[in-house]
């Protein structure tokens, strides 16, 4: 199916410069920082809008009349490179075209989420004031999804409208702490964080410890600026479970990272841009996201994703309906549609991330048997046993850990 055609180096350079998924340049699009700061300042100036913000248990923050029946449309904001594209026209998304044919709902799809913090900062004040954000479906990574739900910004699903989702959500993603009853967040795609290795440059890397200390890798290793991924690995390497650790464990793990920074072992902390460096061989091994490395592997078979002995991190990006959306029912129809195993397989064949839909593997066999056997897209039992999920943090913990982590990586 939708294999990426190898690009010329020039074209890759241009693509590299474009903000891609989880880009490191959070504020590079200038005003970012000030937009958020301004938001916070505004919130502060107009009394503590957020103090004692109701959690999901306290009832909805605000109620909006659902006009889904009259207006057959939704606006869907997602991350770049996260939707199937027509081979001739990347603006056309076959699964969305089929959705419209099936339900009559018109989807305005925008890949305008580049960074969890940045996007959340953009919509937070409006949601807190119960104002519309002109979006009916947004996608956030687990930890930010937890914040979103905690602040009461996510609309609750109605069970009868998301029956397929309830039936087909992969067992490993059920009962997550921030959404135990699957009422607020539906995983769009999941992903694994492992070690990406360019075997043209170095021999195999088996463990996180090797990554941090092996002399021949000095200055040829990168880690991610995403704290949950990098620190998840550090916790694994000191023998702690990222799903259940103490602040003391975190500090011990951070010391290990600091030592690797001080010794010059770690060349940089990156967002998505490790992809080009790994492909070129400037870096030999790095902490990497599964979908990226699988796509690189199609173009260059020297590039591999290694499951370190210590384990791998699993994360999900979750679809959520903002509380102020007037098209919640339409949005739920879309969520349910993507939990149809056939549709999910079609999408997974394009984006190559971990598919959160049970039954999609059987459908994938019809599309591409190789991909159906790939444990990085459909984790098998052996893989399942190695997967860890970072524990949900409170806001105070998030701030403390992020503060320490960012200081350790030089920012």
């Amino acid at each position: 199916m939708a294999r990426r055609i190898p690009l010329s180096p020039q074209a890759q350079a241009v693509l590299a410069a474009m903000p891609s998924r989880r880009t490191v340049l959070r504020g590079a699009l200038a005003g970012g920082a000030f937009a958020v700061a301004g938001g916070a300042l505004a919130a502060c100036g107009t009394k503590g809008t957020n103090s004692g913000a109701p959690g999901p248990s306290a009832g909805p923050l605000c109620t909006v009349a659902d006009v889904s029946a009259a207006e057959r449309k939704i606006a869907f904001s997602n991350w770049p490179a996260y939707m199937d594209e027509d081979e001739k026209n990347p603006e056309v998304h076959p699964t969305l075209v089929a959705f419209k044919a099936k339900t009559g709902i018109d989807v305005t799809y925008t890949a305008d989420i580049n960074d969890n913090n940045e996007f959340y900062g953009k919509i937070r004040t409006q949601l807190a004031a119960c104002q519309p954000i002109d979006r009916d479906l947004v996608v956030f990574t687990d930890w930010m999804a937890a914040t979103f739900i905690r602040n009461g910004f996510a609309a609750k699903f109605s069970a009868d409208k998301v029956a397929t989702f309830a039936k087909n959500l992969a067992p490993s993603l059920r009962g997550r702490q921030f959404d135990p009853n699957m009422e607020y967040a539906a995983p769009w795609q999941s992903g694994l964080t492992g070690i990406g290795v360019n075997t043209a440059v170095t021999k195999e890397v088996r463990t996180v410890d090797e990554l941090l200390t092996r002399p021949d890798l000095k200055g040829k290793v990168t880690c991610l600026t995403e704290m949950h991924d990098t620190m998840g690995f550090m916790l694994l390497s000191i023998g702690k479970d990222p799903g259940n650790f103490t602040t003391a464990d975190f500090d011990t793990a951070l010391e290990k990272l600091k030592a690797a920074v001080a010794s010059g072992q770690i060349r940089r902390f990156t967002g998505n841009d490790y992809v080009q460096d790994l492909a070129k061989g400037d870096i030999a091994a790095c902490i990497a996201w599964s979908g990226d490395v699988i796509q690189l592997g199609f173009e260059n078979d020297k590039i591999k994703l290694v499951t370190p002995d210590e384990g791998m991190m699993l994360w999900s990006d979750n679809m959520m309906i903002p509380i102020t959306s007037p098209h919640a029912a339409n949005a739920m129809a879309l969520i349910d549609y993507y939990y149809d195993p056939k549709v999910a397989a079609e999408l997974a064949a394009f984006v190559n991330y971990v598919c959160p839909v049970a039954g999609a593997q059987e459908e994938m066999v019809k599309i591409d048997p190789d991909l159906a056997q790939n444990p990085l897209i459909f984790p098998d039992a052996a893989m399942q046993s190695k997967i860890k999920i970072f524990k949900p943090l409170t806001e105070a913990e998030e701030k403390e850990y992020q503060g320490k982590f960012q200081a350790a990586i030089g920012a």
């Binding site: 504020g27 503590g48 913090n117």
Partner: protein, 307 residues
């Protein structure tokens, strides 16, 4: 106002009274300059004074607050001490990198601007376009392309290794050199353009006069050309130093964890850690430091005519 003019100048009586008391029309016209200033002042008030005021306020918030629980204003001056304690390394590093960048830009930019202005002849416009042309591409894209040029497997590193200027394990990316080189590249046009503007005005007959008075080329440069181009030098150094000190794109793309600048820290404190008080305190510190440095610099350089 046009309607008032005939009365102002029309009656001879009014004309004779001008030294004593200006006529109605003249008096009314006094507010015109203020009216013309108003849009600019309003703009500054809304988009500069108010945000800066808010920033200063935010830097004095109680750091134990958070985005979700709200912050309280407690005159928390210790935020500044904490910010310095945590990030003085990056802070001083930024000023140091900006200083090196400025010096290198002067050394590279002056001969370039001189060549364009004095020796450019009919190529002058073409050469100027050459200086400005990089602006047709986004700053970010240009910095990314430096990543490709300086990459470990790229031609620059290959050449330096061949010439034994770089060890077999040596690299340029993720080093101080790459960060400063990126800064110099990105800010060089801001140095060249003001230098060109002041050198272009240079009357070359003064150089001939200097030679007539037995000055050699070196002395006439230091006694005639350089002093006359000082406004350009000062404008150029300011336009280079100030943005370079606050830059974070080069440090993030071309540098490593040990070459990050204060801009990256402020960015990550604001957007990632959500620690607004420390981020604000760092921003205010950077602003005040640059303001003080620039004031001292401009007053010692002693020129009234900047730009």
């Amino acid at each position: 106002m046009a309607a008032l003019l005939p009365t102002a100048s029309g009656t001879p009586a009014a004309a004779t009274e001008i030294p004593v008391e200006p006529p109605a029309g003249m008096r009314r016209r006094r507010w015109i300059p203020y009216a013309l200033l108003a849009p600019g002042l309003l703009w500054l008030a809304v988009f500069f004074v108010y945000p800066v005021f808010q920033l200063v306020m935010a830097s004095l918030w109680d750091p134990s607050g958070s985005v979700e629980t709200g912050y309280t204003f407690t005159w928390q001056f210790s935020n500044y001490a904490d910010a310095w304690e945590m990030f003085h390394v990056q802070f001083l590093r930024s000023l140091w990198y900006a200083l090196i960048t400025t010096v290198v830009c002067v050394l590279l930019g002056y001969p370039l601007a001189y060549a364009i202005a004095i020796k450019g002849g009919r190529w002058k416009n073409l050469m100027l376009v050459g200086v400005i042309a990089p602006f047709f591409t986004s700053y970010l894209v240009r910095t990314y392309s430096w990543k490709a040029i300086l990459s470990d497997s790229g031609p620059v590193v290959d050449f330096l290794k061949w010439a034994h200027l770089l060890g077999p394990d040596g690299r340029l990316l993720a080093t101080e050199f790459a960060v400063i080189a990126g800064l110099v590249y990105n800010f060089l046009p801001f140095m060249v353009l003001p230098l060109y503007a002041s050198l272009d005005k240079l009357d070359t007959r003064l150089l001939e006069a200097a030679r007539d008075l037995y000055h050699g080329p070196v002395r006439s440069f230091f006694r005639v050309t350089l002093p006359l181009s000082m406004p350009g030098v000062i404008a150029g150094t300011l336009l280079t130093f100030i943005p370079a000190a606050g830059d974070y794109v080069n440090a993030q793309l071309l540098g490593g964890p040990n070459t990050q600048m204060i801009g990256s820290v402020i960015q990550s404190r604001f957007l990632v850690v959500n620690d607004y008080p420390i981020a604000s305190a760092l921003s205010v510190m950077l602003m005040v430091t640059i303001l003080v440095l620039v004031t001292v610099y401009v007053s010692t350089a002693g020129t009234e005519e900047v730009v």
